[in-house]
């Protein structure tokens, strides 16, 4: 069994060294305590009710000893924790900044060159990264076990994380501040790639994806977007009730709204619901559901929206 997750940032071995140090201190202490406890219980077991016992009430030497030693240990642990924390919170000058926005229940990332990704974070290896993070709604927390970093995201101000990835691979990003129904599914992936790969991704992946899309039926593209853009968190395709209405047999169905009106679910209705789910021109909320869906304006291209609509049409 692995006691620790993969170690994939410069900060990870530092955290692990504190965990190791405190584990040693803890194991020695608990063995000492258990030994004293068990030894005393057997050694001084009651033999009769008339046992004579000494009336020891205090012992200055011992008491000083077990005040001073824990104090020293505590100071050492504090300093370790402080020094590494100080390094972790100090931003390197040449850090590469990526903006992170969390919303129920997805992550979006915006890069300096204008690229945007959804639930997938791309970072180059061995380069200091600084995440500038904000929440669109309730509190969230950005946690990558492999990097040992964690920071809450708040609605009214930016928070930051610094890390330098040291290992290529794909690692989990968890939300660790409880945020409601799909909290445990608010998982994204961070891709640590070589500098070369990263440059390639930065300049060309979009085109590559568009090309890949070119050979695919729109409904197939839509199927991919359904999971990669996070629709899956709230909308089922098997009719199961989620945070939002299921997509099963949605196309062409009569929708009843909270304001009492109703409408058939056609292409324009679906597009409008993706762009203006709660607020905006002609926003409609289906009866029985809360106003929780974030707008996908700017996150999906027109062709992607079309692909999603085509995909919905195929779910019968």
């Amino acid at each position: 069994m692995n006691w620790l997750p993969t170690s994939a940032s410069t900060f990870a071995p530092q955290v692990d060294s504190i965990l190791f140090l405190v584990t040693i201190i803890s194991v020695v202490s608990i063995i000492l305590v258990s030994f004293m406890l068990i030894y005393f219980v057997f050694k001084y077991k009651r033999k009769s009710v008339n046992d004579q016992t000494p009336a020891i009430t205090h012992d200055s030497f011992l008491e000083t000893l077990w005040t001073v030693i824990p104090t020293i240990l505590c100071i050492v642990i504090f300093i370790y924790g402080y020094v590494y924390y100080d390094r972790y919170t100090t931003t390197p000058k040449d850090a590469y900044e990526i903006n992170v926005t969390a919303r129920r229940w997805s992550w979006s990332f915006a890069y300096p060159n204008g690229k945007k990704t959804f639930n997938e974070l791309y970072v180059p290896i061995n380069k200091p990264i600084r995440l500038v993070m904000q929440s669109d709604d309730v509190l969230h927390s950005f946690f990558v076990p492999a990097f040992r970093v964690k920071q809450d995201l708040i609605g009214n101000r930016y928070t930051f994380i610094n890390f330098t990835p040291t290992k290529e691979g794909v690692f989990d990003i968890y939300c660790t501040e409880y945020c409601g129904l799909s909290h445990s599914d608010m998982i994204a992936k961070v891709h640590v790639v070589s500098e070369f790969e990263y440059a390639k991704w930065e300049s060309g992946e979009e085109a590559k994806v568009e090309n890949a899309y070119a050979d695919m039926a729109p409904s197939k593209v839509g199927e991919q977007l359904y999971s990669s853009k996070g629709c899956v968190a709230c909308h089922s395709i098997d009719g199961a009730n989620g945070v939002g209405p299921s997509w099963k047999a949605l196309y062409g169905k009569k929708r009843e709204f909270t304001d009492g009106s109703s409408e058939l679910a056609d292409e324009n209705y679906i597009k409008n619901s993706i762009l203006y789910p709660v607020k905006g021109p002609d926003a409609k909320l289906v009866k029985g559901y809360g106003p929780v869906m974030p707008s996908y304006q700017g996150l999906l291209s027109d062709s992607e929206i079309t692909a999603i609509i085509e995909y919905i049409k195929t779910i019968k």
Binding site: M1, T71, F78, G81, Y178
Partner: protein, 532 residues
């Protein structure tokens, strides 16, 4: 109230029926009623936790939906914290024991004491009334989620607000009682350590509880009237709520644990036939812990976005609170040195307390260290740490008290052998439930997760199996306690403490004549040897 009192009758027999209890101002009856109430709430919240663990038997949905899961962990946390463990030992055994231990006939304000109990009942009913539209915020009610959710947050928080008054009034009552009603000769440095612990707890209750009351009122105002204290959309600050909340809820951790520490300090000397080692260190460290506990709330918020400097300061003070705790553990251990140790059930629970609480305390060192907390915060590591302190500490302390004072409270004895079997099951079950969670958390498993990655499945399942052992242990313990074996003598353990120097169960009036105290409560052993 009845006009006819028979003060010589034992308190259990002085009046029968619901009214004779529910309108009784007798501190012993109130203590027993609190014990029943917290017992019922403990069972309720424990059932919720068993369902939570059962849900985790497999990744994804096992028995309940995500929403039900979120409701269950909120219910478990809110009931355990506000209805069980905060009133907990202090209200039940504090009420029953303090007047007996200090040689008084009752607390100083008996009617206020009854009123506190009624307020507790009212608050409990309001809090549980929220089950009609059960809350899904977690027991911490973090904003802005708690403003945003459609569930019945107002009712739960109002329930907690009302419960706060019960806590404050009980605290005041105990403080004044200990100042005014100590028997002649019972100086502060002879006061039983349980009373010292209850005194420190009462201080916390009186000083910290108003803060959570006000905070929850602000939250209610925000939800009901749309005031913008915490909602960033209205210019409020969600992190402010966390500061307010933990300003109470961290001292509340010590409201929960200090009385249990007091119990350990009573049980160990009796079953070791030794004076408590380092009386003054234990008494003063109770007060020191109580005071420092007001200054460490920010260690719950290292990753919340508060400033770096503040984090560093809170980390320093957090380590400062670890030291008096370590001192207590070694003082308890050394109390057994050269003693005459009897492994009664109560003693076993107390020894288990020392072991489990030490693990709880040591794992706190991981969380106090800033860089390590960045990784461990809000993972199962925290869940395990907290339960080692709250169950391994407080609940084991409570169980020790229930067994230790059983003869005094009910006038009967119980089957020690069967009770010890229950102890073994509870001890093993507890460790199987919570120890794997330390590893889960270190591996990066976040808390409050309905779903989890398959790589965590084995440890989750192990933890769930532990709850079944624990459950059998609880049931066996209850069974044993419900089947007394015979009448108890006044002082079956030869304790020197005042409450054992009267018949079991105690007469309604406690003391016909107020006793005079000439020596320490812990004057066990022969003093000659010490001088040699």
């Amino acid at each position: 109230m009845t006009d006819h009192h028979d003060f010589d009758k034992n308190y259990l027999e002085n009046g029968k029926g619901f009214k004779s209890w529910f309108f009784s101002v007798d501190h012993k009856r109130l203590g027993v009623m609190y014990l029943w109430a917290i017992g019922v709430f403990f069972v309720l919240a424990a059932i919720a936790s068993f369902l939570i663990r059962f849900e985790h038997l497999s990744p994804g949905q096992t028995i309940v939906s995500a929403q039900t899961y979120n409701v269950l962990f909120t219910l478990h946390g809110a009931v355990m914290v506000f209805l069980f463990i905060v009133p907990g030992v202090a209200a039940s055994f504090g009420n029953f024991l303090i007047p007996l231990m200090i040689g008084a006939r009752d607390v100083i304000f008996p009617k206020l004491n009854l009123y506190s109990f009624w307020v507790y009942c009212a608050g409990s009913i309001i809090l549980l009334g929220s089950l009609l539209a059960p809350v899904d915020t977690g027991w911490t009610f973090y904003t802005p989620y708690s403003i945003d959710t459609g569930t019945n947050v107002i009712m739960v928080t109002f329930g907690v607000f009302v419960l706060g008054f019960s806590s404050i009034l009980t605290g005041i009552n105990f403080i004044v009682t200990m100042h005014k009603l100590r028997a002649p000769g019972l100086t502060w440095d002879r006061l039983p350590l349980f009373c010292w612990a209850a005194y420190a707890t009462s201080l916390l209750q009186v000083l910290a509880t108003p803060v959570v009351g006000i905070t929850l009122l602000l939250l209610i105002g925000e939800r009901y009237f749309g005031l913008g204290f915490f909602d960033p959309a209205k210019g409020g600050d969600p992190v402010l709520f966390q500061h307010f909340f933990w300003f109470y809820s961290h001292p509340a951790v010590y409201i929960m644990i200090l009385p249990a520490m007091g119990i350990i300090s009573e049980v160990l000397p009796v079953f070791s036939r030794k004076p408590i080692f380092g009386y003054k260190a234990i008494a003063y460290s109770s007060l020191a812990i109580a005071l420092i506990s007001f200054l460490v709330w920010g260690h719950h918020m290292f990753t919340s976005g508060q400033s770096k400097l503040i984090n560093i300061i809170f980390s320093v003070i957090t380590f400062a609170v670890a030291v008096p705790t370590a001192i207590k553990v070694f003082n308890w251990l050394w109390t057994m040195y050269k003693g005459s140790i009897e492994l009664s059930t109560a003693m076993l629970y107390s020894l288990a307390f020392i072991f489990l609480f030490t693990i709880g305390g040591l794992t706190g060192l991981f969380l106090g260290a800033l860089a390590a907390d960045v990784h461990l915060h809000d993972t199962y590591f925290v869940v395990a740490h907290m339960h080692y302190v709250m169950i391994g500490g407080t609940v084991f302390g409570l169980f020790s008290a229930i067994h230790f004072w059983y003869p005094k409270m009910w006038g009967k004895m119980f089957d020690e052998f069967k009770a010890k079997i229950a102890f073994v099951l509870i001890f093993i079950g507890f460790n199987v439930v919570f120890f794997p969670q330390f590893i889960l958390g270190t591996q990066g498993m976040p808390r409050r997760y309905f779903n989890y990655s398959p790589e965590f499945a084995f440890l989750h399942q192990l933890s769930t199996y532990g709850t079944w052992i624990l459950g059998v242990g609880f049931i066996l313990m209850l069974y044993v306690l419900c089947r007394p074996t015979g009448p108890a003598s006044a002082n079956p353990y030869n304790s020197l403490s005042l409450e054992w120097q009267m018949p079991s169960p105690p007469p309604t009036l406690n003391f016909k004549e107020i006793p005079t105290v000439n020596d320490s409560t812990y004057a066990y052993g022969t003093k000659i040897e010490q001088e040699a």
